[in-house]
C-alpha cells in the first residue's frame, strides 16, 4: 500500500509558529538552499529549539571544568560517567521536566523520571537510585496543593514500578514558582567500565533499529513547548505532554541490559526530547555519517500518522540502536522475549544526508551536519544583579525566645518534614539503601556486590542565587560538597540542572552567567567537576520569572558504605562540636524570612579554601570512626541543625550557648558542620582541629528529651517534632495553609 501526504506549504509565518524567529529562518534558508518541506521545517524547529540546541547557554556552559582523574566521560553524552574503582563506573545525570509537570503534573513528573532513567541505562548502567528536586509556589496559591499531589504521585507511580529506589531529594516553596513549578529528576546507575555504551554511530550500512513502545501522537513539539514562556493559554498545551508507561520502561531496562551483555550493539541512544529526530540526527552527526530511515517501518500506535508526526512524536520508552552487522536476529529475539517492539527502520550512509522516506516518497533530504552543529549560538546580553546592601546590626538582636523562633522555623514549609512525600516512594527496592536524605546529609546506597557506598545529594539555595547569583552558584556547589563530606564520602563529580527564566532578558541572562561563573569557580576549587547537565530556560509565566535555580546533583564515594555517618543523635553523653567559623550572617537567612518577614541582604559569603579544608577534616574523622552523627549547617543555621539531629534521633541535648544572639543561633555562615563525638574522643577531636587549623568548639552534650540551654528557655523534642511533622500532611488534607 502506498500513501502520500500533501504537506502544508512552508512560509516564514509557519516557521514562526514553530518557534523559529525571522533571522533564524533566513539562516535556515541559506543552509538548506531552498524552501524546506513541512517535515524538514519540523525537524529544524526541534533541533534548533533552546531545549535541544542550548543556543543561549552553550557559550556559558563551556566555563565549567569537566575533567578530572575520576572522569571517564563528561558532558555531551546521554549522562556523565565517573570511575568508582574496581572496574566499575557510576553514570548519572539530572534533568528537568518543569513545563510538562506544570501543565499535567502526574504524567509530566512521571515521564521526567522515565526520561532520566533512559539517559542512564542507555549507557549500559543498571539504575540504582533516583533523586528529585522539587520547587513549588507558595502554599497559599490555589494550584500548589494540586501540583504537589500530582507530581509526587507521578514520581512514585513511575519510580516504584520500574523498581529503582527513590532515595533523596528536596522540596521547597516560594511565590516565584507560583506559575512555574520545577521538577528536576536525577538517576544514578552502575556499569562495568568495559561495558559503557555511547551514542556515536559508526559503520556505513549498519542497521538502524527501533525498540520499545510504539510511536503515537503524544508529545509532538514538547521540546518547542519547553522552550517558550507560559501564559493563560498554557492549559491548551496539555496534548504536548507525553504519557508514560513504567511497566514498558522496566521491560526496556531488562531487555537493553540483556542485549548489552552481548556484542550486538555499536551505539545506542534513547528517544527523549524531539524523539526520533534528535536521536537519529545526534547519533549520525557524532559519527559524521548520513542516515536513511523508512518511516513506514516505525512501529505506530495509531493509523494515519504523517512523517512529520512520526519524527516529532515524544512517545516514551523508545530507544534507537545501531547494531553491528548480522546481529539483528539476536537483538530481535531478546526484544521479543521482553515483548517489546523491534524494527529495522533504516541504515547508516556515507552521504552525510538525513533522508526520510515513507512508502517510497521522500519527505526530508537535508545535509545532516548543519542540523547537528549549525544551530544558532547566542551571546545574549547580560545585566548583573545589583549587590544587596548589608543588614543593619540591630537585626542580630533575637526577636522573642529562641525556642519560639526555632519552632517557627522547623514548622515552615521549607523545613517541615517531607515524610508525606517520601513515604510514597519506594526507597528500599534493591535492598541496598543505607540512608535516605533526611537520615543523613546525603543518601547512601551500596553498590551491589561490593562494599562501596555512593553518597548522593541534590542542592541549591535559590534565594541566595536571586540575591547574588555568583555567590549563590558557588554556594550550591559548596553545599553539595559539604553534604557528601558530612556522611564521610569523597565528593567526585556533579550534574547540574540549570533552571532559569527567559534568557532574552538581560537580567535573567545575567543571573545565568553569574551562577555559572560562581559554580565553575567552586567546582575548580573543590576538584568537583561537572560531568553532565541540563538547561531549562523560559521558566516564566506572564513575564514573572522563577528564582534562578541551578540544582546541583552530587555524587561521592566511600570504600565502605557501612561506615557512612547519619545525622541522628544516638548516644547520651556524646559531645556536640561545632566546626567552622560562625560570624552570624543573617542576610537571606530563613530566620530573616520566617521570623522577621524579610527577604533582604546579601547571601552568606563562601570561602572555598575553608570548605575544602573542613570537608577533608570531617571525612578523616569519619574514616577514623570518631563520629556518631554529622550534619552540615545550612538553612536555619545552628539551632535548626541541632533540632534536626535531635528529632532524627529522638534524643535532646544540653547546649552551652551563653547569651548568643540571633546571628549565632540562626545565621547561615557557610563551611560549618555540627558533629557528635563520643565523650572519650572529644578532646582528641578538638585538638586535631586545632592542629589542622579548623575552627572547632564544644557547644553542648547529647542527652535528655529537650534542647536545654537555649536563650529564653528549653523546648522539648516532642514539641519540635510535632511542629515539624504536622505541616505537610495537614496542608495536603486541607486543614492548614
Amino acid at each position: 500500500m502506498s500513501k502520500t501526504w500533501k504537506e502544508p506549504e512552508v512560509t516564514e509565518a509557519l516557521a514562526a509558529e514553530h518557534g523559529i524567529k525571522a533571522d533564524e529562518y533566513q539562516r535556515l534558508l541559506e543552509i538548506v538552499g531552498r524552501t524546506p518541506t513541512f517535515t524538514e521545517l519540523g525537524i529544524y524547529s526541534v533541533m534548533w529549539s533552546e531545549h535541544c540546541s542550548y543556543k543561549s547557554s552553550k557559550v556559558w556552559l563551556r566555563k565549567f571544568p569537566t575533567t578530572g582523574p575520576h572522569v571517564i566521560c563528561g558532558p555531551g553524552e546521554n549522562a556523565g560517567v565517573i570511575d568508582i574503582g574496581d572496574g566499575l563506573a557510576a553514570i548519572f545525570k539530572m534533568e528537568s521536566h518543569n513545563h510538562p509537570s506544570y501543565i499535567e503534573p502526574f504524567q509530566g513528573a512521571a515521564t521526567g523520571v522515565g526520561g532520566i532513567l533512559r539517559d542512564v541505562f542507555t549507557m549500559g548502567a543498571r539504575p540504582i537510585a533516583n533523586l528529585n528536586a522539587l520547587r513549588f509556589g507558595e502554599p497559599s496559591h490555589p494550584k500548589t496543593k494540586q501540583l504537589i499531589a500530582g507530581v509526587v504521585s507521578g514520581i512514585g507511580h513511575y519510580g516504584n514500578c520500574v523498581g529503582v529506589p527513590t532515595v533523596g531529594g528536596e522540596t521547597n516553596f516560594h511565590k516565584a514558582y507560583n506559575g512555574n513549578c520545577l521538577v528536576n529528576a536525577m538517576t544514578v546507575g552502575i556499569a562495568a567500565q568495559d561495558k559503557i555504551f555511547y551514542s556515536k554511530a559508526a559503520g556505513v550500512g549498519n542497521p538502524v533499529v527501533y525498540v520499545g513502545s510504539k510511536t503515537g501522537r503524544d508529545g509532538i513539539h514538547g521540546a518547542t513547548m519547553s522552550s517558550a514562556e507560559f501564559n493563560e493559554d498554557s492549559e491548551s498545551k496539555r496534548p504536548t505532554v507525553q504519557v508514560g508507561d513504567p511497566f514498558t520502561e522496566k521491560l526496556l531496562i531488562e531487555a537493553c541490559l540483556e542485549l548489552m551483555a552481548t556484542d550486538a550493539i555499536q551505539s545506542i541512544q534513547d528517544m527523549g526530547a524531539a524523539g526520533l529526530t534528535s536521536s537519529s540526527v545526534e547519533m549520525a552527526g557524532k559519527g559524521g555519517l548520513g542516515i536513511e530511515l523508512n518511516l513506514e517501518k516505525v512501529p505506530q500506535r495509531e493509523p494515519g500518522m504523517t512523517p512529520y508526526e512520526i519524527m516529532l512524536s515524544e512517545s516514551q520508552e523508545r530507544m534507537l540502536i545501531i547494531l553491528k552487522p548480522g546481529s539483528e536476529d539476536l537483538a530481535r529475539s531478546i526484544m521479543e522475549k521482553w515483548e517489546l517492539d523491534f524494527a529495522v527502520i533504516g541504515h547508516l550512509t556515507d552521504t552525510g544526508r538525513f533522508v526520510l522516506k515513507m512508502h517510497g516518497e521522500t519527505y526530508c533530504d537535508l545535509a545532516l551536519a548543519p542540523l547537528f552543529d549549525a544551530a544558532p549560538l547566542y551571546h545574549r546580553p547580560t545585566e548583573p544583579t545589583p549587590a544587596k546592601p548589608d543588614l543593619e546590626d540591630g537585626v542580630r538582636v533575637l526577636k522573642g525566645s529562641a525556642a519560639d523562633a526555632l519552632k517557627t522555623l522547623v514548622a515552615c514549609p521549607d523545613l517541615a518534614s517531607k515524610r508525606w512525600i517520601w513515604e510514597q516512594y519506594d526507597s528500599q527496592v534493591g535492598a541496598s539503601t543505607k540512608f535516605l536524605s533526611g537520615q543523613a546529609d546525603a543518601a547512601v546506597v551500596r553498590v551491589h556486590g561490593t562494599k562501596k557506598g555512593l553518597a548522593l545529594t541534590s542542592d541549591v539555595t535559590p534565594r541566595y542565587c536571586y540575591a547574588d547569583p555568583y555567590r549563590g552558584g558557588m554556594q550550591a556547589v559548596a553545599e553539595s560538597y559539604r553534604n557528601i563530606s558530612a556522611v564521610g564520602a569523597t565528593p567526585l563529580a556533579i550534574t547540574d540542572n540549570m533552571n532559569f527564566g527567559n534568557p532574552e532578558k538581560p537580567r535573567i541572562m545575567g543571573q545565568f552567567a553569574q551562577c555559572v561563573e560562581g559554580m565553575a569557580e567552586a567546582c575548580r576549587a573543590l576538584d568537583y567537576p561537572v560531568v553532565s547537565g541540563n538547561v531549562s530556560l523560559y521558566n516564566e509565566t506572564n513575564g514573572e520569572a522563577i528564582l534562578p535555580t541551578p540544582t546541583v546533583g552530587g555524587v561521592g564515594l566511600m570504600a565502605d558504605g557501612m561506615a557512612a555517618v547519619g545525622l541522628a543523635l544516638r548516644t547520651a553523653g556524646d559531645v556536640l562540636v561545632l566546626l567552622g567559623e560562625t560570624r552570624g550572617h543573617l542576610g537571606q537567612s530563613l530566620y530573616l524570612r520566617e521570623v522577621l518577614g524579610r527577604e533582604d541582604g546579601p547571601p552568606p559569603p563562601v570561602d572555598l579554601a575553608a570548605e575544602r579544608k573542613h570537608g577533608e577534616f570531617v571525612r578523616a574523622l569519619v574514616a577514623d570512626g570518631l563520629l556518631t552523627a554529622s550534619h552540615d549547617l545550612s538553612d536555619g543555621g545552628l539551632l535548626v541543625a541541632v533540632a534536626e539531629m535531635a528529632m532524627a534521633g529522638g534524643i535532646g541535648a544540653a547546649l552551652e550557648l551563653g547569651d548568643a544572639d540571633a546571628g549565632f543561633l540562626f545565621g547561615e555562615d557557610q563551611g560549618r558542620y555540627l558533629l557528635a563525638v563520643p565523650a572519650a574522643q572529644a578532646d582528641a577531636v578538638l585538638s586535631r582541629a586545632t592542629a589542622a587549623g579548623v575552627p572547632a568548639r564544644k557547644i553542648g552534650t547529647v542527652g535528655g528529651d529537650a534542647l536545654n540551654g537555649l536563650p529564653g528557655g528549653a523546648i522539648s523534642i516532642a514539641s519540635l517534632k510535632q511542629a515539624n511533622e504536622a505541616w505537610l500532611p495537614q496542608f495536603m488534607a486541607g486543614t492548614a495553609h
Partner: protein, 229 residues
C-alpha cells in the same frame, strides 16, 4: 536448600530475594521466567515483589495465569515451600493458593516505611526461628496491601493459627495506629492450610543485613533453611 525465584515481567524484588536466599543457603537460586513450563527440583519457591505485568487489570491477576504458575501450584500441592512477598502475596491470592485478596490501601496512597509486626505463629517453616508473640520491624512498600476476606475465611485463618504476621502499633496492639493499609484484623501475612505456602506484604529481604539498619527479616530465611535440615 535449593530455591527458585519466579521472574515475571515487572518483577523488581527478584534479585533482592535471590540475594537473601543465596546468602542463607550458599547456593544460587534458579531464576525461572514466567513463560517457563518446568522447574528444577527445589525446596523453596519465592514469588517476589514488584509490579508484575505493570499491575494492569489488577495486581497479580495476570501473573496468576502465566505458564509458570501451573508448575508452582503443582509443587505447592507436593509440599514445596512457596513464599509470596508483596506482589508475590497478591499473585498467590489471585492464583487461589491463599485465600482472600489485597485491595487498595485505605489511604489510597502507596506507602513505604518500616512497620512493627507481631509474629503470630512459629508453627511454620517460615517463622520457626522467631519467638511467638515477638515484635519485629520489617519494611513495607505497596499501594495495594489492604487484606480482605469474607467472615468465614477470617474465622478459619484466626482459628487455625494461620495468621503469620500482624501489624501492631507502638503499644504492641493490633490497632488502627499500627495498620499501614487498613488490612482486616491487621493481617500482614498468612499461611495456607498445609502451612507450606505463605504470603506477606512486608519485605523480609529488606531487613536482612546490617546495611539495612535492622536484621529482623533474617530469621525468616533462617527458618526456611532450618526447616529443611
Amino acid at each position: 536448600m535449593k530455591s527458585a525465584v519466579i521472574v515475571f515481567p515487572g518483577s523488581n524484588c527478584d534479585r533482592d530475594v535471590a540475594a537473601a536466599l543465596e546468602q542463607v543457603s550458599g547456593s544460587k537460586p534458579h531464576m525461572a521466567f514466567h513463560k517457563d513450563t518446568e522447574l528444577p527440583e527445589v525446596d523453596v519457591i519465592a514469588v517476589p515483589g514488584g509490579f508484575s505485568y505493570g499491575d494492569y487489570l489488577r495486581c497479580g491477576a495476570m501473573a496468576a495465569h502465566s505458564p509458570i504458575m501451573a508448575v508452582v501450584r503443582e509443587r505447592a500441592a507436593k509440599g514445596v515451600r512457596v513464599m509470596g512477598i508483596c506482589n508475590g502475596f497478591q499473585i498467590l491470592t489471585e492464583a487461589g493458593l491463599l485465600p482472600g485478596a489485597l485491595i487498595r490501601n485505605k489511604t489510597l496512597k502507596y506507602i513505604c516505611k518500616t512497620v512493627d509486626l507481631k509474629v503470630e505463629t512459629t508453627d511454620s517453616p517460615f517463622t520457626a526461628h522467631y519467638q511467638a508473640g515477638q515484635t519485629i520491624r520489617i519494611p513495607v512498600g505497596h499501594g495495594e496491601g489492604n487484606y480482605v476476606a469474607d467472615g468465614e475465611t477470617l474465622k478459619r485463618l484466626e482459628g487455625e493459627g494461620r495468621v503469620a504476621f500482624r501489624y501492631v502499633g507502638a503499644a504492641g496492639a493490633a490497632d488502627a495506629e499500627g495498620n499501614p493499609n487498613g488490612a482486616m484484623n491487621n493481617i500482614a501475612g498468612i499461611l495456607n492450610e498445609k502451612r507450606n505456602v505463605l504470603g506477606m506484604m512486608p519485605h523480609p529481604e529488606r531487613a536482612f543485613e546490617p546495611l539495612h539498619g535492622n536484621t529482623d527479616g533474617r530469621a525468616f530465611f533462617d527458618s526456611l533453611l532450618e526447616s529443611l535440615s
